[in-house]
Amino acid sequence: MKTWELLRNNPSLFDRYFVKEYLIKASRNFFEKRGYHELESPILASALPQERYLDVLATNLTFTDGRQKKAYLIPSTETYNKKILAAGIGNHFVISKVFRGLEDIGPNHSPEFTMMEWYDLNSTYLNLMNDCEKLVNEMHDYLCLKQNTHKTESITYNGKNIDLTPSWYRITVSEVLKKYANIELKDIQTLDKIEKVATQKGYQIEKNDDWETIFELIFLNEVEPNLPQEKPLFLYDYPKILCPLTKTSQSNPLVCEKVELYIAGREIANGYTELRDWKEQERRFKEEQNARKTLNKDEIRFDNDLINALKAGIPPVAGMGLGIDRLAMIFADAKNISDINYFPATELFE
């Protein structure tokens, strides 16, 4: 039975599907009150940021004179946020469909999903955490209002209680590494060292595995499943190698100012104090472009316009991206992304 038939037969199910709509409305109210502009981003792009593992969705535009141009469905709106920051828009947010050329469509994955990003001038990732806490609480208030339920301090997801009252857990990556994987961040600073640690732990490591992959392997197996879930959690201060375009922490040169929000053990949002150095950005893009060639990935047209925008200069800024579908799943207590979308990918491409 298709979702529209299901809803026709059982209209009480609509409540679950309205959650996403309410979250978006609450976000617009939240940013409107704070004087943010809303950016409408293109979703069909002529160039993308270079990223070695990105599986792009591309198509060809054909013009009446017969010329053809490659067009990409965007994996994030970030490049447009940065260009509009260079233009001088100031604080702004964007709510957009973004795309991944994934191999699988699963309970947590869809090739298209809704992403919200906001950019806060003269701010840092610490502010992002505070704003995120307020935003999610306002979303919750709005949901209670629209669904005519009493405002509660906690929500239930998958049978477990999550307390939303501030302040949420804030833990550094090096703390959780030590606690759950018994690793000191300073002891795994090179590929050789992390390889040795992972091999001793019994992981299968191959020659072409890079530092990021090995780190993620340990993190996904030993850290993530053990993160506390009674409250939302901000994990922050990520190893520098994982976020080359993020500002290095002032207190610890091994880490950068990146934060990820986990709710119910799931990654919901991530944010950075943005690096504004165009030379570093260009160097990194070229490195990623070369890595794509080595990995046999499709060539992506280089976004020179972004480098030019950074050259012209963007103000000090912190930016956060939040996955609306995942958050809607949590508020709707839905196990599957297809339970909160009227036209889920599983149904369209089954």
Binding site: M1, H109, Q204
Partner: protein, 205 residues
């Protein structure tokens, strides 16, 4: 035309010969060697972090001890696939602990503990044929198709005039399972059921 084979395809071909599999190709029901013990894959989900290579999150069940573990593999990790025999057998009956199946040719019978049948045992119907996975002589799993067609043996007329709010009614299917169906379904209709969610999917002609 591409004249060069992609390197990952070549790797897959070589692995096939050595009975090794890439973790990206793991599927539910596959039996692998994990920490030198046989495990059956009961769940697999693709995961791609924002930056970095992709991973496969899995839930594996130990065939010897029954315990379930979670493990995340890199997508191109190699695992040894263990030889599992598949046999199509006829379902006879079940009791509190086991379901009994028969080989329609040799009449050999085999018992499968109910907790090893993923999804729902109440979708097994007598004389229905199912694929059993056999490892070292023991049945370790029964594969239910995602969609199964079954006949409705009993359903009411549905309450007329109440279609706007609750346009479904209960139906009992030939396996004895009860599901909610739309009002137009009648006794004797064949319907297809999603065995994972246990819900009505569509009416068959």
């Amino acid at each position: 035309m591409h004249y060069l084979l992609r390197s990952d395809i070549i790797v897959s071909l070589i692995l096939k010969i050595k009975n090794m599999a890439l973790t990206g190709t793991l599927t539910k029901g596959m039996v692998i060697n994990f920490n030198n013990e046989p495990y059956i894959v009961i769940e697999k989900e693709f995961y791609a972090p924002a930056k970095g290579a992709s991973f496969q999150r899995t839930k594996l069940k130990s065939i010897k001890f029954g315990k379930v573990v979670s493990h995340t593999f890199k997508s191109f990790e190699k695992v040894e696939e263990l030889d599992v025999e598949t046999k199509t057998m006829q379902f006879l009956y079940s009791d509190d602990s086991d379901a009994y199946f028969m080989d329609a040719v040799t009449f050999d019978q085999i018992a499968v503990p109910l907790d090893q049948i993923p999804n729902r045992t109440d979708f097994l119907h007598i004389d229905g044929k199912y694929i059993l996975l056999i490892y070292e002589g023991r049945a370790i799993s029964v594969q239910l198709p995602l969609k199964m067609t079954m006949r409705v043996i009993e359903t009411g007329d549905g309450v007329k005039g109440n279609t706007a709010t609750n346009a479904t009614k209960e139906a009992i299917l030939e396996s004895g399972v009860k599901v909610q169906v739309p009002l137009f379904i009648k006794n004797g209709d064949k319907i297809s059921i999603n065995t994972e969610s246990g819900t009505y999917y569509s009416k068959e002609n």
